[in-house]
C-alpha cells in the first residue's frame, strides 16, 4: 500500500547517473535497462592501497557481497583506485548507493555508481598511462 504520491516517493540516491560506458556493447537503451536492474556497483576514488578486504567489510554493511573485482592499471597491473562490487540482490546494492556512497573508506570519500555488469577486461583502467582516465571524477562528468 505505497502512497502513490510522486512527491513523496523520492529516492534520489539510487537514480542512475549521466555516465554511460563508451565501450558498452549495445545501445543506450539497452545500457540503461541494465543499469536499472543491476546489482553491480562501480566504486571510485579509492586509495591505491585500499584492499579487497576493506571493500568487503564496508560494502557488506548493506548486504551479502557476491564478488569484488579490484580495478588495475592496464600496464602495471596494480590497483589504481576503483573496483566493482557485485551483490546478490538489487535491494542490497540500492542500500549501498543510499548509505555507503559518499562516505569514507581508508579516509577517502568514495563514490559509487550503477554498473551494467562486469565483463572480463573492464577491470583495467582506460587512461593513456594505464590508470583511470585522467581526473578521478571523470566518471561524473556528463558524457551524453
Amino acid at each position: 500500500m505505497s502512497s502513490h504520491l510522486n512527491a513523496l516517493n523520492s529516492d534520489s540516491y539510487i537514480e542512475i547517473s549521466q555516465y554511460r560506458d563508451q565501450h558498452f556493447k549495445g545501445n543506450r537503451y539497452e545500457q540503461e535497462k541494465l543499469l536499472k536492474q543491476s546489482s553491480t556497483l562501480y566504486v571510485g576514488n579509492l586509495s591505491f592501497y585500499t584492499t579487497e578486504e576493506q571493500v568487503y567489510e564496508l560494502f557488506s554493511k548493506s548486504g551479502d557481497v557476491k564478488r569484488i573485482i579490484i580495478g588495475l592499471d592496464k600496464i602495471k597491473k596494480t590497483a589504481c583506485g576503483f573496483c566493482f562490487v557485485e551483490y546478490y540482490t538489487r535491494g542490497d546494492a540500492e542500500n549501498a548507493m543510499r548509505f555507503i556512497n559518499g562516505t569514507r573508506l581508508d579516509d577517502r570519500i568514495i563514490r559509487t555508481d550503477w554498473d551494467a555488469g562486469f565483463r572480463e577486461g573492464r577491470q583495467y583502467g582506460r587512461g593513456k598511462s594505464g590508470g583511470q582516465v585522467s581526473g578521478a571524477h571523470r566518471r561524473w562528468t556528463c558524457v551524453s
Partner: protein, 789 residues
C-alpha cells in the same frame, strides 16, 4: 552541466531538486505537490499558506474531487509528523464544503479498514490519530470518536485472541489522547473515565513475559527500560492529572477557531474492528529506549520527563520523520533538525536518543543498520558545533553501561562505533577507557574495545590500529591477520604429512588437475586406521590438513585468490568432505590457518556453504564443538552462525517462490485452457510434474532448515545445562560473563529469526523446550513465545 561540481557538493544525491521546479506540470501533479509541500519552509506564515491552499482546493473540487480525496487520505497515512497541518486543511475544506468533509471521513474509514486487513498497523494508528484530531477541527463530533474508542476497547474482552491484538487497539486509543484527550473529556468525561478504567484493568492483567527479552539494558538504573504500553499509560495518567493541558503539539487550527467552529460536524460511521484471523500479524511489543534525562543536557532547554506526554509526542514525531525520509539521508537529517518547537527542547539529545533507540530495537531495527551510521554522520555535518559532542557523550554513557547491555545491542554498538570512527580518522579519547585494561578481559568493556579495534582494523589495516591507541592498549589490539602454515619450514619436517604437503604444493604450482591431486593424496596415510582397506576413501583428517593447509597457504594473498583456489579444486574438496566428519575437519583447518584473520574465516565459510563443500549443519556443529570453545564469545563466530542461518532461510524462500510461481502459471493455464487440446494437456502435465518436484524440494529444504535449528538449540541446551549443573553442585554463582554471553546468544537466535522459528514451534516444544528443562533456559523459550502471543 557539470556533474562534477554537483557530485562534490551533494555527496552523491538529490540533484533533481534543482530541475523539477522549472518544468511544466499537469494540474494533478501540481495539486499533489501543493498538498505535500504545505508546511515546509516558506516566506509566508503557515496560516496564510493553509488558507491559500484551502482556497485553491475548494476551487478545484468540482473537477478534481476524487484526486484531492486520494491525496489527502495518503498524506494522512504517510506523513503523520505533519498530522495537525493536514487536519487543519481538512477542517478548512469542511467549513467551506460540508459534503466534501463527509466524503473525506468516509474515505478515511474505508482506508482504515483496508490498512487493518492488510496488517499495516503503524499506518492504521496514524489514521486513527488523524480522525481524532479532526475533532479539534470541528470535522468530526467528539461523541462519535468516543464510540469508536469504546469499540476498540471492547476487543480486550474478546476470548481466545492473541494479546498483541488487544494491545494494538489499546495503543490506538491511548496514543491518540495527547491530541484529542481534552476535547473528549470536555464532552464525554463519564464515558472516557469508564474507558480508561477498562484499559487500566486490561493493562494490569496482561502478560509481560516478553519484556526481559526486549530490554536493551537489564539494569533498572539509571533509566528503566519500560514496556511501551506501561510507559504510555503513565504518560496519559500524568496528562490526565494535568487536566489534559498539552503545550507541545503544534496546532494550526487554533488560529482558525472562529472559522472552524462555524462548521457542521460529521459523525463517524459505526466501526467494528475486523475480527481476528490467522493471517493477521500484529505488531510485536517493544520497550521504550531511554538514555537521557533532564540531568544530561548541560545548558539550554530542559528535557521533558520520561512520563511526560511531551516526551511521547516528540519521540513519535522524530520516529515518523525517520520513517518518511530514511532513504534520503540529507533530507532526513534536515527534517530532524528543523523539528517545529525545537527551541524549547534539547533537540540534539532527543534525536540521538531516538536514533539509538531504533538502532538497538529488539528484535530488529526498523531499517538497515548502516542507515543510522550515515544519518548520524549527516547530522554531524549539519550541526558540527553541537551534535558531535552529544554523540560523544552518548557513546561514553553506553560504554559505562556495557555490563548490563544485551549482547545483540553490543554487537550493533560495535558495528556502529567502528564504522563511525572510520569516517573520522579513528579519533577517540581511548585513554578515558583505560579502566577496561585492568578488568577481567572476558568482561564486557574489555571485549567491547577488543571487538571495536578488530572491526576498525578490517576497515583499515593492522599498523593503523597500533598507531591510533595508546601503548597501554596493546593487549587489546587484534592480531596481525597473517596466515599460519603448519608445514611452514624445516622445523615442521617431523610432522606427519610434511613431505606430502611439499609434493602437493609443487603439484598445485605446476597446475595439476583435480584428478592428479587426488592421486597424490591417496598416498597420505590415515592416522585413524591401521590399514587403508577401502582405498583411502573414508574420512582422513591428515589428507585434509595436507591439502587444504597447502592450498590456502598458496592462496593467502587475498580473498579473490582464496576463492579461486576453492573453485579450482572444488572436486578434491568435495571428495575430502563427503562425510560429516570431513566437513567438520575442513572447518577446523580453515580456523587453524586463519586464526588471526576472522574476516577471512567468515568469507571462506560463506563460500564453502555456497559451493556446497560444507553444509549449514556442519557449520553449526563446528561452532559448538570443543575446538571452538576459546572462540565461543568472539563476535565473528556469531556473525558466521547468523549468516549461515540466513543463507538457509533464503534458500528455502527461493524454492518456495519457484513453487508459487509454477503454481500460478498452472492456474493461469487452467483459466484460459480449451479442454481437450493435446498440446495444452502436455504442457499441463509437465508443469504438474515440475510442481511435484518443487514440492519435494521445498519439503526437503524445510526439513534441513528445521534440523539446523534443532541442532543449534540442542547444543545451546547442552552447554547451558552443563554450566548450570556445575554451578549448582559447586555452589558458585552461575552469572559468569560466559553464561551471560551464552544465554543472550540463545535469545539472539530466537529474536533474529523469529519469523522462521515460529513455523517449528510445535517440534521445538515437544523435543527440546519441555518442562524438564532448567527454568533459566525454559524462560528464554517462554519469552519468545510471548512475543506474538
Amino acid at each position: 552541466m557539470s556533474r562534477r561540481r554537483h557530485a562534490d557538493e551533494n555527496d552523491g544525491g538529490q540533484p533533481h531538486k534543482r530541475r523539477r521546479t522549472s518544468e511544466p506540470v499537469e494540474i494533478e501533479d501540481r495539486l499533489e505537490s501543493l498538498i505535500c509541500r504545505v508546511g515546509e519552509k516558506s516566506t509566508s506564515s503557515l496560516e496564510s499558506n493553509l488558507e491559500g491552499l484551502a482556497g485553491v482546493l475548494e476551487a478545484d473540487l468540482p473537477n478534481y474531487k476524487n484526486k484531492i480525496l486520494r491525496i489527502l487520505c495518503s498524506v494522512a497515512r504517510v506523513l503523520p509528523e505533519k498530522l495537525t497541518i493536514y487536519t487543519t486543511l481538512v477542517g478548512l475544506l469542511n467549513a467551506r464544503n460540508y459534503n466534501f468533509g463527509g466524503e473525506f471521513v468516509e474515505a478515511m474509514i474505508r482506508q482504515l479498514k483496508e490498512t487493518l486487513k492488510s496488517n499495516f498497523f503503524s499506518e492504521a494508528v496514524y489514521l486513527v490519530r488523524f480522525l481524532c484530531d479532526l475533532v479539534n477541527c470541528h470535522v468530526i463530533a467528539a461523541p462519535s470518536v468516543v464510540a469508536l474508542f469504546e469499540n476498540f476497547v471492547c476487543v480486550t474482552q474478546e476470548d481466545d485472541v492473541p494479546q498483541v491484538r488487544c494491545d494494538w487497539y489499546v495503543y490506538a486509543v491511548l496514543s491518540s489522547l495527547p491530541w484529542v484527550g481534552k476535547e473528549l473529556y470536555e464532552k464525554k468525561d463519564v464515558e472516557m473515565d469508564r474507558l480508561l478504567s477498562q484499559i487500566d484493568g486490561y493493562l494490569k492483567r496482561r502478560q509481560k513475559t516478553h519484556v526481559a527479552m526486549l530490554q536493551i539494558w537489564s539494569a533498572e538504573k539509571p533509566h528503566p527500560q519500560e514496556e511501551y504500553l506501561d510507559c504510555l499509560w503513565a504518560q496519559i495518567q500524568k496528562l490526565k492529572k494535568d487536566r489534559w493541558q498539552e503545550r507541545h503539539i503544534l496546532r494550526p487550527y487554533v488560529a482558525f477557531d472562529s472559522v472552524l467552529c462555524e462548521a457542521l460536524q460529521h459523525n463517524l460511521p459505526p466501526f467494528t474492528p475486523p475480527p481476528h484471523s490467522d493471517s493477521a500479524v500484529y505488531p510485536m511489543p517493544h520497550v521504550i529506549f531511554r538514555m537521557f534525562d533532564y540531568t544530561d543536557a548541560p545548558e539550554g532547554p530542559v528535557m521533558p520527563g520520561s512520563h511526560s506526554v511531551e516526551r511521547f509526542v516528540i519521540e513519535e514525531n522524530l520516529h515518523c520523520i525517520i520513517r518518511t525520509h530514511w532513504k534520503e539521508r540529507k533530507t532526513c537529517a534536515a527534517q530532524l533538525l528543523s523539528y517545529p518547537g525545537k527551541s524549547k527542547i534539547p533537540l540534539n539529545y532527543h534525536i540521538v536518543e531516538v536514533i539509538f533507540g531504533e538502532l538497538f530495537q529488539l528484535p530488529c531495527p526498523p531499517h538497515v543498520e548502516v542507515m543510522y551510521t550515515t544519518l548520524l554522520i549527516e547530522l554531524c555535518k549539519l550541526q558540527p558545533g553541537s551534535l558531535p559532542q552529544v554523540l560523544a557523550q552518548a557513546t561514553e554513557m553506553m560504554y559505562m553501561r556495557l555490563d548490563t547491555m544485551n549482547i545483540t545491542c553490543v554487537d550493533r554498538l560495535v558495528n556502529w562505533f567502528s564504522h563511525h570512527l572510520s569516517n573520522f580518522q579513528f579519533r577517540w579519547s581511548w585513554d578515558d577507557w583505560a579502566d577496561c585494561l585492568t578488568a577481567d578481559p572476558e568482561k564486557p568493556k574489555a571485549k567491547f574495545v577488543r571487538e571495536v579495534l578488530e572491526k576498525c582494523m578490517r576497515l583499515s589495516y593492522h599498523q593503523r590500529i597500533v598507531d591510533i591507541v595508546p601503548p597501554s592498549f596493546a593487549p587489546l589490539i587484534p592480531a596481525n591477520p597473517l596466515f599460519i602454515y603448519k608445514y611452514e619450514d624445516e622445523n615442521s619436517s617431523t610432522l606427519p604429512g610434511y613431505n606430502a604437503a611439499i609434493t602437493v604444493g609443487n603439484a598445485i604450482k605446476n597446475r595439476a588437475s583435480n584428478e592428479e591431486i587426488l592421486t597424490l593424496l591417496k598416498d597420505v596415510p590415515n592416522p585413524n586406521h591401521e590399514d587403508d582397506d577401502d582405498e583411502g576413501e573414508s574420512f582422513n583428517p591428515l589428507k585434509i590438513d595436507v591439502f587444504l593447509q597447502t592450498l590456502l597457504s598458496l592462496a593467502a594473498k587475498s580473498f579473490s585468490h582464496s576463492f579461486s583456489a576453492l573453485a579450482k579444486f572444488h572436486e578434491v574438496l568435495k571428495t575430502l568432505t563427503e562425510s560429516d566428519e570431513g566437513k567438520l575437519h575442513i572447518l577446523r583447518v580453515v580456523c587453524d590457518v586463519w586464526k588471526n584473520h576472522p574476516q577471512m574465516i567468515s568469507v571462506l565459510v560463506d563460500k564453502m556453504i555456497r559451493t556446497q563443500i560444507v553444509d549449514c549443519v556442519a557449520v553449526a556443529n563446528w561452532i559448538f564443538s570443543q575446538d571452538m570453545t576459546h572462540e565461543f564469545t568472539r563476535f565473528y563466530v556469531w556473525e558466521i552462525l547468523h549468516s549461515t542461518i540466513r543463507k538457509m532461510n533464503k534458500h528455502v524462500q527461493k524454492i518456495q517462490k519457484e513453487l508459487e510461481d509454477s503454481k500460478e502459471k498452472l492456474e493461469k493455464q487452467h483459466q484460459k485452457k480449451d479442454s481437450g487440446d493435446e498440446e495444452d494437456m502436455e504442457e499441463d502435465s509437465q508443469l504438474e510434474e515440475q510442481i511435484e518436484r518443487l514440492q519435494e524440494k521445498v519439503e526437503s529444504a524445510q526439513s534441513e532448515q528445521k534440523n539446523l535449528f534443532l541442532v543449534i538449540f540442542q547444543r545451546f541446551i547442552m552447554m547451558l545445562t552443563e554450566h548450570l549443573a556445575r554451578c549448582e553442585t559447586g555452589g558458585t554463582d552461575l552469572n559468569t560473563p560466559w553464561y551471560k554471553n551464552c544465554i543472550e546468544r540463545l535469545q539472539q537466535i530466537f529474536l533474529m529469526h523469529h519469523a522462521t522459528i515460529q513455523q517449528y514451534m510445535g517440534t521445538l516444544e515437544n523435543l527440546l523446550f519441555t518442562a524438564e528443562l532448567d527454568h533459566h533456559i525454559l524462560a528464554v523459550y517462554q519469552q519468545f513465545c510471548s512475543l506474538q502471543a
